[in-house]
Symmetry: C2
Subunit: 450 residues, 2 copies
């Protein structure tokens, strides 16, 4: 049996995950629309032999423009450009099941999978918030359960479309004048509650069959969805105990869904803040916190907690009469995480904003490279994580620091590959099998020609 290895994903977001990162002298405030910036980040992550990189997304303009860099290059477009600038790293794009058509989205991911040589991944989101809904003809956000019902049907349709060409549907018999075998192409013939899709996809089956399926919702609906479909899960966990409970719960739900629990990889998000001493790391954190504009943070926190503007006081704790998660229609698990963090540590609103500014609820690992590597190893070996979603507070410097100082320690401890070795698909990097085609009874070949 091969050794269990850590899976690392680089979560790229313009000048970094700390909301004030763009204000540092080193940061380029136009980085969010600079291809060169992202190419540079992708190459750093490849130097660190990460499994993948990842882009978040929502089809709306977030928050207010004054506060921090807004807008972005559309993730599937940006990742396609990055595919040509990298060789090994997986490319995971977020895309919404609520505001896309399965036929269009399935084509784009199939095309990216072919162009990247099997390195595409899809972070499946249902997209919370009324702003997005109102960009797509709706007056309000669909209910949480409704969004997940649509997501499940979307997946079923997309999987039919990705399987619609058998791996050997292309015959290419020039002499006979027969290019393809129509009996090996299967129309979706799907008629459901949300979608009606008749035809076969107009892209042949791809190197991976379909993109690695990734998911990040930690609500009840989200975990059930993940257990059924996801191969990798991003999650925000503030303590190792919470992370262990989440990990065990998700693996057991996956088993209950009839799947191998080894075929779902759990990656908590961490914000590494690295210094050559612990003091230096904490000082770097403090510099970032000093750049936060708190007036903006209050408004954002009120929106997350679904409170009217002006409710929160900066130097008081959260109100005691907040509603339970069950009535929240937005990002349910994020809501609970933030409320529990504030109550557990009795944080004022100001302190809470400071903590969230760094990673929006993800855990900060601040310290020396050894301390960060120790924390990673501890989580990895104690049933809290199969790997990590690395969310540097400042980019590119935070990713550089992680790759230069933490990665060598992880390699020395045999937790991380020394080099990529031969080309692999993203699914192979994550130690997962190529999916069989649902229309074929015989086992699929290892790799399609394309």
């Amino acid at each position: 049996m091969t050794e269990r290895r850590l899976h690392l994903n680089a979560f790229l977001m313009n000048t970094g995950h700390h909301e004030a990162s763009w204000r540092l002298p080193e940061s380029d405030p136009y980085a969010h629309v600079e291809l060169g910036h992202y190419v540079h980040l992708a190459r750093i992550a490849e130097r660190g032999t990460f499994d993948s990189l990842f882009l978040a997304d929502g089809p709306q303009l977030w928050g207010n423009l004054a506060q921090r860099p807004a807008g972005a290059l559309e993730p599937l477009t940006l990742l396609t450009a990055l595919a040509t600038a990298t060789e090994h790293i997986g490319l995971i794009a977020t895309a919404s099941t609520s505001y896309n058509s399965p036929y269009n989205l399935a084509r784009k991911f199939a095309s990216l999978d072919i162009i990247s040589g099997g390195r595409a991944g899809w972070n499946i989101v249902t997209t919370a918030g009324a702003e997005a809904a109102r960009n797509f003809g709706l007056d309000a956000e669909p209910a949480h359960a409704e969004r997940y019902a649509r997501a499940a049907e979307f997946l079923d349709v997309a999987l039919k479309l990705w399987d619609s060409w058998e791996d050997d549907a292309i015959v290419a018999d020039k002499a006979a004048g027969v290019w393809g075998d129509d009996t090996r192409v299967h129309p979706a013939r799907h008629k459901g509650r949300y979608f009606s899709v008749e035809g076969a996809l107009n892209v042949p089956r791809t190197p991976q069959g379909y993109p690695l399926l990734v998911q990040a919702g930690s609500s009840e609906d989200g975990k059930e969805f993940a257990a059924r479909y996801a191969e990798a899960v991003f999650t925000a966990q503030q303590t190792i105990e919470d992370a262990q409970a989440f990990y065990a719960d998700l693996k057991s739900r996956t088993t209950a869904a009839g799947r191998d629990p080894g075929h779902i990889k759990v990656l908590p998000g961490i914000v590494p803040v690295i210094g050559s001493t612990e003091t230096e790391a904490l000082a770097a954190e403090q510099v970032l916190e000093d750049h936060i504009v708190y007036a903006h943070g209050v408004g954002r926190l009120e929106a997350l907690l679904q409170l009217p503007p002006g409710t929160l006081e900066l130097d008081a704790e959260l109100p005691s009469d907040l509603p339970p998660e069950s009535v929240i229609e937005g990002a349910k698990s994020r809501y609970t995480l933030v409320v529990e963090l504030a109550r557990r540590e009795r944080l004022t609103v100001r302190q809470l904003i400071g903590r969230l500014g760094g990673g929006r609820g993800h855990l900060t690992f601040a310290g020396t490279p050894e301390q960060v590597a120790d924390a990673i190893e501890q989580w990895f070996t104690s049933g809290a994580a199969d790997g990590f979603n690395i969310m540097p507070a400042v980019l590119p410097s935070g990713l550089d620091a992680f790759v230069d100082h933490v990665v060598p320690l992880l390699r020395a401890r045999s937790l991380l590959r020394e080099e990529y070795g031969p080309r692999q698909t993203l699914r192979e990097r994550y130690g997962l099998p190529r999916p069989a085609n649902q229309y074929v009874t015989a086992p699929a070949p290892a790799l399609a020609r394309v």
Copy 2:
């Protein structure tokens, strides 16, 4: 005043525009899903200092697989990959207004425009055919007029979205902690018959403001749409007289729509078949015709003419009682072109299929490089064309032949640029101004920062 120059677009389609091209010994039957094939073609076109390259598209699996290469990489995805492999050439993707959401599509084109440094173009199509409709929840194709009404509203929404950020909306004041100016971002607030889109785009204004708008429908609805929006028009014309009439008509419609007729470029499609002698060129054409599988062609022609299968006889002319264009709901102008071609030359079904096999209704210019250059010059200087949509019968060899043998003649006659010179946007290559932002009364700066 600068000299009037020819505009050249390379219409790329797997192994070439002739339906039998994939059967030639030189052709790669997997070319349609090989990024390397398209990179090679794009670089040939750049060697020929073409203005742009272009990919057709429809969101359905075309025709039958036995006949010829089917499926493709999705055009926006493929062009993004080509953007990173080229420096100067414009990148025009076809996308449907009937089967996309304005918010999603506007983002993707804006992202491609930024990534390519202002080289994006959009060939706007309404997508004929029930196959596509049935992939998007409809039972049948929407009526022709309905599709065009939706297209016009789609454009209006997209133009609002592309203008939603003023060019100087990003302030980037690190000291004050102010990244952007919210007063310079304008939500679409669109409520119409087909679309309701509330917010601003989540991509800043792009180098071109928005992609070059291209159109290829030659029906009445199509020409009216082109007169209102299009900056370049692809068209199929079988004779110089027809091309002159189309050209004059479109320019006068553009004037009537209140636009400068110089701001719409007309590019008929031509299939160049080049030989060192005329006999050699005609022999090359004959080889291709000999590879046509006629049984497939009959079915395709019946579909185009909306006749029941089994109606047409291979060695007879078309039936005399075909319906008028007005009742056709599919590709109206293509229908009329094919019927008129068959009647004018009294072609049998077999002969008609042979003629259509090369360029699906586009004119073949077969001959020596001088003969092809002469025909191009004649059309260009006699009010039939502002340039050409070059559709080689076989790829890459046909594009190579055109660039190696015809392009030098066009340059010697001062009809085509000798080299690209400094970087330009696609719109600059076509000699068109950067559009002003509809929300700004002062003139726009020459180029945005991004």
